[in-house]
Symmetry: C2
Subunit: 433 residues, 2 copies
């Protein structure tokens, strides 16, 4: 039994500083809970920091820290995919447990990294990689371990949710809100990762793996961002009782899994529709548990440090046990990961919100509904608005779930109608039932 | 390393049957996740059940099963406090790990049971004891282990929440809804435990212990049920932007902890106010995580079995490790549990909803506000309604947080006013900020 646990924090950005502060603020609570002294012995930083306890060794030689005999757990909060990967692999090869918040690295190289960790009998923990402070990794890997997961749906990018919330609640336009989000520090100067859905797709691929027991397959996640969401559609959706959220979905289907990230209409009455601002939330539908939802801060120094340190607390028990036996990295024992197919976008099934812009002519509605019907698409609601000054009329149609390939075909046909003057706007719709 | 884990299920009521079914339904998933064969070898039941796999031994001799050498984990889902306690203690003394859903037993005898388990180097797991399928025990004990918890607020009794939701959404009276809840099987024939708040108080005492690191102190929980909630107050609350929920609260205060269970006005805009029907939800405010919320089914065979089996999955790692080292029963190492005082109801602080019934006379409002002010109570809102046919007028007052002893004194003074014809109705109010 080791009384003192030594940790190295590599990277002193927002998250790294959050971890250092947490250990200072909650020292008493941490030792009351764990029965151990948890000490930061090393920090890896490019430039010396004077606000750090002088007994902590500071160095820019990350590889040496990762291999240091005194260190029990290496926390990687550098970010990025090159140095971070080298350092994690180095730590694993020196039989250190690793805690990381690096979703991009894990989504793209996790299979390799976890395999290496298993070879060396150590753990790579990554609670902070998905949904920040919401302990969704532990919940799906451990708390729901007796369930068969049917689907996961999550608001897993705070920036995107902030933008959509502002658009919805204050009738603001995408571009204006994005500028404010950048000013507030919620969005990066280059917001591509957040607003194009790549960050959410990284996280979703992790969630899907631990929910279904499949290898990480980031490159197979269908990914659509929020940059094309028009304020007009947010408003129409609201009138119809729906909220547009940027969601990540992982569905178990008869012939494979659907992994997708895209703007989605969901009913206002669902809890997910009421998750606003930078908050995150993940809903899980599983058998026999049914639906459950987990909500909290998806980013920020405090929330991320909370998740990182929860992993450290867990690893203390792993270190003190005389066996590396513990929850498998992807929740299922590695040899049981399945090669079930990830469905292509054509094979995905969901409801749709369609917005047509049509000339105010007799027969266009009849033609449209005929085309939908011929393609086996059931209409759930139609809303026709007054004509614009231009004489053009917006027609909104909500459909029941349909195979995407059928919807593609129907839309192509609708767009050939003479009265339809613009490309059909389509946004996916999920009832979350 | 043990490949086969043998479990005994004591009690074949709703929950026990749920566990048996889960193991049958999800056998493949369980072994893919755990890498182990999890087998029910014994069930304890008073009368033989023909629908159970004949290779499982059935017996009414619970004590023998609990001591059987073949059994690794004993699941107690009998309920009640006498037989269940004897059987758990017997299992512990025979060095079996125990999983139980028995909140009443743990709330009242948990300190003794956990102490005994620690002596014998085994674990008593109780995820199913609070909020059914919501893994709130694991979340607070493990996932939030690096936080200092400031408060916990939970809808932790589904029956009560069903009744209040119906009253709020359909303007129905308490008695009518209770009858329906009984018919639907949501409420017992004798609903005392649920509607008087005792069940919620049991659960709250468990939550408070693992949040703050204090021994179980069920007898110090202030407990008020929903039987006196008048439809009129539900309606007035709604008009003022609040929902009445039956909540359990555990607050960290400067001079001690507040543990209380009572009907509470909370703002409609909070997620907790939107948790409806038999659903449960628990909100936690912690440093540095901030606020997080956990939502799902608080009862029922499937949800409870999910929680029971999550404990079993965890115990597999404990069994395979060569050390009993694991998360402490009450989240803090036993010698670190603190004897910080539980505040008396007089010392509690919260906002209030007051309803006065007054004669339509000049000056009564002035007198009332003067009394509140003299007692240091700040008014947040006042609403006066039209006079009833009787000539009596309802006056609703919302106050900012105030010490309960001050509120008691103020109400006593208000009730002496000649124009105040009935006892003042008071319901606590929390902003959850």
């Amino acid at each position: 039994m080791k009384d003192k646990i030594n940790i190295a924090v590599l990277g002193l950005g927002t998250v790294g500083t959050g971890v250092v502060n947490l250990l200072k603020d909650n020292a008493v609570e941490l030792s009351r809970r764990s029965g151990h002294d948890i000490c930061i012995t090393h920090v890896g930083t490019r430039r010396r920091r004077d606000d750090i306890d002088p007994t902590i060794k500071q160095s820019d030689d990350l590889m040496s820290i990762a291999a240091d005999d005194d260190v029990d757990i290496v926390i990687e909060v550098i970010g990025g995919k090159s140095v971070a990967k080298d350092v994690i692999i180095h730590a694993i090869e020196h039989k250190k447990h690793v805690v990381t918040a690096n979703k991009a690295l894990l989504a793209e190289h996790g299979n390799e990294i976890f395999g290496l960790a298993e070879e060396h009998g150590v753990q790579v923990r990554y609670e902070a990689a998905v949904a920040g402070g919401i302990p969704i990794i532990k919940i799906i890997r451990e708390a729901l371990a007796a369930n068969k997961v049917d689907w996961v749906a999550g608001i897993i990018n705070g920036t995107g949710n902030f933008i959509l919330t502002e658009m919805q609640q204050k009738n603001r336009r995408f571009g204006d809100v994005l500028k404010e989000a950048q000013a507030l520090g919620y969005a990066e100067a280059d917001p591509t990762f957040d607003v194009e859905g790549i960050d959410a797709a990284h996280k979703l691929s992790l969630l899907a793996s631990i929910a279904f027991g499949i290898p990480l397959q980031f490159n197979k996640v269908y990914c659509e961002g929020i940059t094309k969401i028009n304020l007009q559609d947010v408003v129409y959706a609201k009138e119809l009782g729906y909220t547009i959220k940027h969601l990540g979905f992982a569905f178990r289907r008869e012939h494979g899994f659907e992994l997708r990230v895209h703007p989605t209409l969901i009913p206002n009455s669902t809890l997910l529709a009421n998750v606003n601002g930078v908050k995150n939330a993940v809903m899980v539908d599983a058998h026999p548990l049914g639906q459950s939802l987990y909500y909290g801060d998806g980013a920020g120094a405090g929330a991320t440090a909370s998740a990182v340190m929860a992993d450290v607390m867990d690893l203390i028990y792993v270190i003190n046990a005389n066996t590396p036996s513990d929850v498998p990295h992807l929740a299922f024992v590695p040899e049981e990961l399945s090669d079930t197919r990830i469905l292509s976008s054509d094979e995905m099934t969901c409801g749709y919100y369609l917005r047509l812009t049509v000339k105010d002519e007799l027969g266009v509605l009849a033609d449209t509904t005929r085309i939908l019907s011929e393609n086996g698409i059931n209409i759930d609601a139609i809303m026709q608005r007054d004509a614009h000054k231009s004489g053009l009329v917006p027609v909104i149609i909500l459909t029941l779930p349909v195979l995407e390939s059928q919807m593609n075909k129907a839309i192509k046909e609708i767009e050939t109608l003479g009265a339809v003057t613009e490309p059909v706007v389509r946004i996916r719709l999920e009832s979350l039932e």
